[in-house]
């Protein structure tokens, strides 16, 4: 098991009341598999992803990475070395080119990165579908789909096993969506990554190896 959620509880304080978004949520994820998390808007999918990616802290329960509590690893360190995060709104640094964006996490992580980083970054982008001429463009001169590819390349730049994506195709048209999903499938199946993707698209969910649905704070595993 590369990643486990153990009895996660997360709520918002609503005056006197606690409004639970996640209630005793459990889940486990393996390498080499492509997972999707399905749920309606407002069901708490983003909240769950934030907990898995250590951008937020549960009120109780633990997230285990290879059996170790990520709190113990240290949230920052976990983000830096163990997980690649992809957002719906890409979140690239606009003053940098595509390749520069990919280079950023390489100098933050403590993982082994090959010496010729720039080449690695270009190759990574090329593999994801960004040719060199586009790699040298500022990211706001790329299409949404291209930007999301850059974001995926950035997530892969630190050589992590775990990729978390929160509605990565939410802003893309269907064609682009399918291309991105193909990349995720390839990453899971050919590169033995653990890919967890939040979506509200049934079509995407159908292509994954394992579906979880989130409803009223309860996460259910689909057989």
């Amino acid at each position: 098991m590369i990643l486990e959620a153990k009895n996660l509880n997360y709520y918002y304080q609503d005056g006197e009341n606690r409004r639970y978004i996640l209630r005793d949520t459990n889940a486990s994820f393996e390498k080499g598999k492509f997972y999707t998390i399905l749920g309606h808007s407002g069901s708490g999918k983003t909240t769950f992803m934030a907990l898995l990616s250590a951008l937020d802290e549960p009120h109780s329960g633990n997230v285990l990475f290879h059996g170790q509590d990520i709190k113990q690893i240290g949230y920052e360190k976990y983000r830096r070395n163990n997980v690649g995060i992809i957002f719906q709104s890409y979140n690239l640094v606009p003053s940098f080119t595509a390749v520069e964006n990919v280079l950023v996490p390489m100098s933050i992580t403590e993982n082994e990165i090959p010496k010729d980083r720039k080449n690695v970054a270009y190759n990574l982008l090329d593999y994801i579908g960004i040719v060199k001429t586009k790699a040298d463009r500022f990211v706001n001169k790329l299409s949404g789909g291209e930007q999301q590819r850059v974001a995926i390349a950035r997530a892969l730049a630190t050589n992590v096993e775990l990729i978390l994506a929160d509605e990565p195709t939410g802003n893309l048209d269907e064609e682009m969506e399918q291309e991105i999903i193909d990349i995720f499938t390839k990453l899971a199946h050919e590169h033995q990554k653990c890919v967890i993707v939040v979506t509200h698209s049934n079509e995407i969910a159908q292509q994954s190896d394992q579906i979880y649905t989130l409803k009223k704070g309860v996460l259910t595993k689909h057989e």
């Binding site: 951008l55 983000r79 995060i85 957002f87 520069e100 950023v104 933050i108 950035r154």
Partner: protein, 484 residues
């Protein structure tokens, strides 16, 4: 792409914003640099002027106090002049480097001509006491040590000559030349006593004072200022008086005064009786050379209780306050400007940087989401601000200095025109020919190491403090809220 590279890259990539920040820092830097320049220049003036004025102090009658006294009080006041013992006692204070006291008298001469600045002056045949016999106690001559005059030939006195009242003298070179005298020559002054009681002058006694020349002096400041002094008239008068000064021991002066008094006693019994009943007081002008101007106040404080009520301690460096008006007002003003501009800079730069950071909050959130340490994100922003700040501060280092000299020029010009007249100080034994013009002349705004250091430290500290608010903002950023 570590945080240092990121920072450097960001400065050039967001060149527009960098320029805005640069411009703001440059403008504020100019104000701060200007204020520091002026501060520096004014404190330099105080130091150099006080050095030029010297560290002398004297005891003199406090005319202010005298003016404010009622007749009753005047009657009760102790009129004893400052005596030799008191002078010695004060001279022993630890602040005093050395001291002298002097009594003097004026004599005429049938033997030599007075120096009159090259002009033909005829006094007729009547007795004219043109020569100041200046008694001294300090054998090496305080006036020479303090730079009023300079020995150009011969030697100064020996302690023996001072003590025994030897008939030796030091005269000015000009006076010697006028009379074709040289070291080793003798000349005669005449001490004549007149009685005016009959309505017209009647010579009652006369004797010659024969003195051997042991040394020649030249007034120092005259040589220095030759040709460029605008206050020529005033200066000449002082110069001529000094050229005709004859340095002797106090003892010599005392003997001549004695002769004078005895002549009167011989013709006036009442006077003789009065003198006999009272102790004879010699009048001395003391002068104390202090170790430094810094101890002037402490010296005055310790000396005050020792001297008679009617007297006061006068430091020559007090003179600075009289002539430094324009400088003082510049110093005060620039002090305020400095404080206000630093506070304003902290606020303005802080808010501008904060504003720019709010624009970039997504970028900063990205770094944090990628696991970057907050300290490095802070470091990156600090670096970006500092790169711009160092450029801006370096530029304003020079322009601010120029600005300061421009501003001070106009300010001091208007200032002198308005209030400050040249103040000529020539009282007691303290001589200072420094005027407000001298002060303004020695006021110079220029680049020097202290100024550069001071401005860099103050400037960069100001920038550093101004980034505190923005940095708190970074530390409180929540990447989840920004990005998800």
């Amino acid at each position: 792409m570590n945080f240092i590279k990121r920072g450097a890259l960001n400065v050039t990539r967001r060149i527009g914003k960098s320029f805005i920040l640069l411009f703001i820092i440059f403008i504020l830097g100019n104000v701060i640099a200007g204020a520091i320049s002026i501060q520096q220049a004014t404190s330099n003036v105080e130091r150099t002027i006080k050095e030029r004025i010297g560290t002398a102090a004297t005891l003199e009658i406090d005319y202010q106090k005298l003016d404010s006294m009622s007749e009753q009080e005047m009657m009760e006041v102790d009129w004893t002049p400052i005596g030799r013992d008191l002078i010695r006692q004060i001279g022993e204070l630890s602040y005093v480097k050395y001291y002298d006291y002097s009594s003097s008298t004026w004599l005429g001469s049938d033997d030599i001509q007075s120096y009159e600045g090259g002009m033909e002056v005829h006094y007729g045949d009547s007795y004219n006491p043109r020569f100041q016999l200046k008694g001294i106690n300090y054998a090496r001559v305080l006036d020479f040590e303090e730079g009023r005059g300079q020995l150009v030939d011969g030697r100064v006195f020996t302690d023996d000559e001072i003590e025994n009242g030897a008939s030796v003298a030091i005269i000015s070179k000009k006076l010697a030349e006028e009379n074709n005298l040289h070291v080793g020559d003798t000349f005669a002054l005449t001490n004549k006593v007149f009685d005016y009681s009959a309505g017209e002058e009647e010579e009652i006694a006369s004797r010659d004072v024969v003195l051997e020349i042991i040394g020649l002096f030249e007034p120092q400041s005259v040589a220095e200022n030759d040709g460029e002094n605008s206050d020529r008239g005033m200066w000449d008068w002082m110069d001529i008086e000094y050229q005709n000064t004859v340095y002797v021991s106090n003892q010599v002066v005392r003997e001549e005064n004695q002769f004078h008094m005895e002549a009167y006693m011989a013709i006036d019994e009442e006077y003789a009786q009065m003198i006999e009943n009272e102790e004879i007081h010699e009048h001395f002008s003391p002068i104390f050379i202090l170790h430094s101007t810094d101890v002037a106040e402490a010296f005055a404080e310790e000396a005050m209780p020792l001297i008679p009520q009617l007297y006061t301690v006068r430091n020559v460096s007090d003179h600075f306050d009289n002539i430094a008006g324009p400088i003082k007002s510049m110093a005060t003003l620039s002090g305020y400007v400095l404080i206000v501009s630093i506070v304003a800079s902290v606020l303005i730069i802080g808010l501008v940087v904060l504003l720019f950071l709010r624009d970039r909050k997504r970028e900063l959130g990205i770094y944090l989401s990628l696991g970057e340490r907050r300290s490095r994100v802070v470091g990156q922003v600090l670096l970006e601000v500092m790169i711009v700040a160092i450029i801006g501060i370096t530029l304003s280092l020079f322009t601010g200095n120029l600005l300061a000299s421009g501003v001070s020029d106009t300010m001091m010009k208007s200032d002198t025109n308005q209030q400050y007249q040249d103040y000529y100080f020539y009282g007691g034994e303290l001589h200072s020919n420094l005027t407000t013009d001298d002060v303004i002349e020695s006021y110079q705004v220029h680049l020097n190491a202290t100024y550069i250091m001071m401005f860099l430290v103050i400037g960069l500290l100001t920038i550093l403090v101004s980034t505190v608010i923005p940095l708190i903002y970074i530390v409180r950023l929540n990447p989840k809220k920004i990005l998800m």
